[in-house]
């Protein structure tokens, strides 16, 4: 999964700006792809690895500020965004930051500003991707549990003792222990603390009675 190289997606209607940015990013060892319009980006395949967007606010067809929403509506996975603009004012930058932008840069920008922002954005996306991947894995593991095991996992995570669980479910304590051991093995949890954390991430805080 993480062996895919990170990529920077540049959307700017100005060809000179695009080629300059592409060259700059490549010269520091980053992969870059550029698009003249939001439509071109939407038409392209989604990046497989970590990615971020460098968006010009003035774009043909729509405002760059609207693009994140457009991408989400088109089923694009959320990506960190760095806005760039030829001129900017306070309301525009406030709006950009409210949209969760990593940074808002005025052209012409210092390369360090851009590269820092790009690295920050890629790292954020990498972490987000990893978290999503881990969560996927946990969900997959959780799906292998039997209904009884899911029940017992919920109760264990809620802090019930084996004895109490046995009473709750009308089982023998030994049976509960066996199920519990299965849960720990299937969920790859080494300790009770691990299992509680997993339950929290899977949002099992409200176990069914």
């Amino acid at each position: 999964l993480s062996d895919v190289e990170p990529v920077v997606l540049v959307v700017d209607d100005d060809a000179a700006v695009r080629s300059g940015l592409e060259s700059l990013l490549r010269s520091v060892g980053l992969r870059a792809r550029s698009f003249a319009s939001p439509q071109e980006l939407l038409d392209a395949p989604q990046p497989a690895g970590p990615a971020c967007l460098v968006l010009d606010i003035r774009l043909p067809g729509s405002s760059g500020l609207d693009l994140p929403a457009t991408l989400a509506a088109a089923g694009f996975r959320p990506l960190p965004v760095i806005f760039i603009t030829g001129y900017g004012d306070v309301p525009m930058s406030v709006q950009a930051m409210k949209l969760g932008a990593v940074d808002f840069l005025l052209k012409p920008f210092r390369e360090q500003q851009l590269l820092d922002a790009v690295h920050l954005a890629l790292e954020a996306d990498r972490v987000a991707r990893q978290e999503r991947a881990e969560l996927e894995e946990l969900r997959r593991l959780y799906a292998t549990l039997t209904p009884r095991e899911r029940e017992i996992m919920g109760l264990v995570a809620a802090g019930r003792l084996n004895k109490q669980i046995a009473a709750d479910l009308g089982l023998s304590e030994v049976t509960v222990k066996v199920h519990r051991g299965q849960v720990m093995r299937k969920m790859r949890a080494g300790t009770l603390a691990d299992l509680v954390k997993i339950a929290l991430r899977l949002d099992l805080s409200a176990p069914q009675p």
Binding site: A15, G20, S23, S27, K107
Partner: protein
């Protein structure tokens, strides 16, 4: 009984003239009074009616009576007092009724006919009643035809008289109407007299009861009394009218929104209307007798005093403005229009409080200024933003390429190919930035750059090379149809390239909404052609969405744009460039099929032409 000859009236001229005079004067008097009848109600109406009726009826009666005395008969004649008086009443009452009907009829034709018939019959009744009052040693026989004629004349004359009373009420018309009425009354009477044939019998007169002997003296007496009566009535009317006018003036004075006053030349208020109370806050009692000058704002006091002086020394009128101090300490602007009354050593003035108007004008002026400033600021802001964008775009590319170039060179080993490419882009970006700057200069100063003879085909091909990559990326194909040989045009290469780039990029943007496919790519067609004296024409055609007819006229306006994020400057700049070249730019469009932008450039004169001139 010795049969005597039948006889008729033998009229005495002096008295006949007097009878006419009395009827005309009476008519005049009644017209004076009748003036007010249409406007009056209630007791007011009764008063005016009574005045008009007494004047008219009295005049008719005394005309008749004087005319009777003018009638010389070979026998002595006397008149029964009672019937004579009754005939007077008949005249007055019927005239009053006639006037009332017409006066309340609002000038309708029917009311004149009804009122005229009534009055006419009344006058006839008066005439024959009065005849019946005659006591003389003779019998009267009537000629029916003339009697009928006299009654008809009476009705017609009365109708005419009433019509005149309501149509010739004012000025010289009144005198004219009075003459006509007098003549009509006389006509009726003398016709009536012609109808009477007297046959004498026993020369005995029974002077039973009271009766008046018909003598010239009696005629003169009646004439004098009637004139006196008419004079009194006219005077009364005059006084009444004056009184009403004075009441009106008092009312005007009190309801006037303007400030009216009488001020002595020394500045003392003598009389003021209540508008002053509303404006200044002082009561009339406080103001009368006080000095107007003391209430004038100290800065305006001298000027105001000077105006009063001018009026005191014979100026016919004065118009000036000054400020007054109100009771609450505020200041009000007053506009004076004044005329002097030298006999009373005072000024009559109509003063208007223009404070609110001045304030409104001041606010309007301020609002206008703010608006103008706001729109200037907005336009400047827009311009600055768009210039910033235009300039920063190549600068951003330049900086990025410069940084990239440094990185490529810093690699071990350095990547010279990439570094060279980045450096080449730097050069291009630098040129583009400078083009933008000259374009902006062109926009602001319309500065004439150096114009040289040039081959537009070549300029066009150079410009297209600059956007080749961009067009490929946008999947737009350019088809050219260039006339060769093409006469040379005169122009600024950079500016013309700017125009061409603008048109080509606009064309490609216009087609972004149109789906292109490898088989049917989006296509821009560019043509050049010689157009004789007009010079060279270049046209750039796209197959895009076209321009709505209502927007065709505005596409060259600054800040007009159809692109959501467009600046609306490209075409405005293009037009200013072409105008400074002596060429022109225009657009034709078929909505849905595409647009074609055309421009012309004047020809460069050949060297032989230049030498010839």
């Amino acid at each position: 009984m010795a049969s005597a000859h039948a006889f008729q009236c033998d009229h005495k001229l002096l008295l006949v003239l007097m009878s006419y005079a009395v009827s005309a004067i009476g008519a005049y008097g009644s017209l004076l009074w009748a003036t007010q009848i249409p406007y009056a109600r209630g007791r007011e109406l009764a008063g005016w009616l009574a005045g008009a009726a007494v004047a008219m009826g009295g005049a008719i009666w005394s005309m008749h009576f004087i005319a009777m005395i003018a009638c010389r008969l070979p026998v002595p004649v006397a008149y029964g007092t009672l019937l004579t008086f009754a005939s007077f009443l008949v005249a007055v009452v019927t005239t009053a009724l006639g006037l009332a009907i017409v006066g309340r009829g609002g000038g309708r034709r029917g009311s004149f006919l009804a009122g005229g018939a009534l009055t006419g019959l009344g006058v006839a009744a008066m005439h024959y009643t009065s005849m019946a009052a005659m006591r003389l040693p003779a019998e009267i026989r009537w000629r029916p035809a003339l009697v009928a004629a006299s009654i008809l004349i009476a009705v017609a004359a009365a109708t005419a008289a009433l019509w005149l009373a309501f149509h010739l009420r004012f000025g010289w018309r009144r005198a004219f109407g009075a003459q006509i009425m007098g003549g009509a009354i006389c006509g009726m009477h003398y016709t009536g007299m012609a109808a009477a044939v007297f046959t004498p019998h026993a020369p005995r007169i029974h002077l039973t009861g009271s009766s008046l002997l018909s003598t010239d003296e009696l005629g003169f007496g009646v004439f004098a009394v009637t004139l006196g009566l008419l004079a009194v009535i006219s005077l009364g009317c005059h006084i009444l009218v004056r009184q009403r006018e004075e009441e009106d003036r008092a009312r005007f004075f009190s309801i006037s929104l303007d400030l009216l006053c009488l001020v002595g030349f020394d500045g003392t208020f003598r009389r003021l209307n209540s508008a002053w109370e509303r404006s200044l806050g002082y009561s009339i009692a406080e103001l009368v007798g006080s000095s107007a000058l003391e209430l004038v704002h100290p800065d305006d006091r001298e000027a105001t005093r000077a105006e009063l002086e001018r009026l005191a020394h014979g100026a016919a009128s004065a118009a000036f403005e000054n400020r007054f101090l109100c009771k609450d300490g505020s200041v009000r602007w007053l506009l004076w229009h004044a005329a002097p009354d030298l006999e009373r050593q005072a000024v009559v003035a109509n003063v208007r409080d223009v404070t609110e108007r001045l304030q409104a004008e001041e606010e309007l002026r301020r609002a206008r200024e703010e608006l103008a400033h706001a729109s200037r600021a907005t336009a400047m802001g827009e311009l600055v933003a768009s210039i910033a964008h235009e300039v920063n775009q190549p600068l951003a590319a330049l900086v990025a390429n410069g940084n990239a170039s440094l990185h490529w060179l810093a690699l071990q080993p350095p990547n010279l190919r990439e570094a060279r490419e980045a450096t080449e882009r730097i050069v291009r970006d630098g040129h583009r930035a400078s083009d933008v700057v000259s374009r902006i200069r062109g926009l602001f100063r319309k500065a004439e750059g150096p114009k040289t003879p040039l081959d537009l085909n070549e300029v066009l091909r150079d410009a297209l090379r600059l956007v080749e990559g961009e067009l490929r990326r946008r999947r737009v194909k350019v088809v050219t149809d260039l006339a060769t040989p093409l006469p040379r045009g005169l122009g600024d290469r950079v500016q013309l390239q700017q125009v061409i780039l603008n048109l080509v990029l606009n064309a490609s943007e216009a087609m972004q909404a149109v789906a292109g496919s490898p088989r049917h790519p989006r296509r821009i067609s560019i043509r050049t052609a010689a157009r004789g004296a007009e010079g060279i024409e270049v046209s750039v055609r796209d197959e895009g969405v076209g321009i709505a007819p209502e927007e065709l006229g505005r596409v060259f306006d600054p800040f007009f744009t159809t692109k959501p994020e467009g600046l609306g400057l490209g075409l405005a700049v293009s037009r200013s460039i072409l105008e400074s070249h002596g060429g022109r730019i225009w657009v034709t469009s078929e909505p849905g099929r595409g647009s074609t932008f055309h421009f012309t450039l004047p020809l460069a004169r050949t060297e032989s032409e230049a030498r010839a001139s």
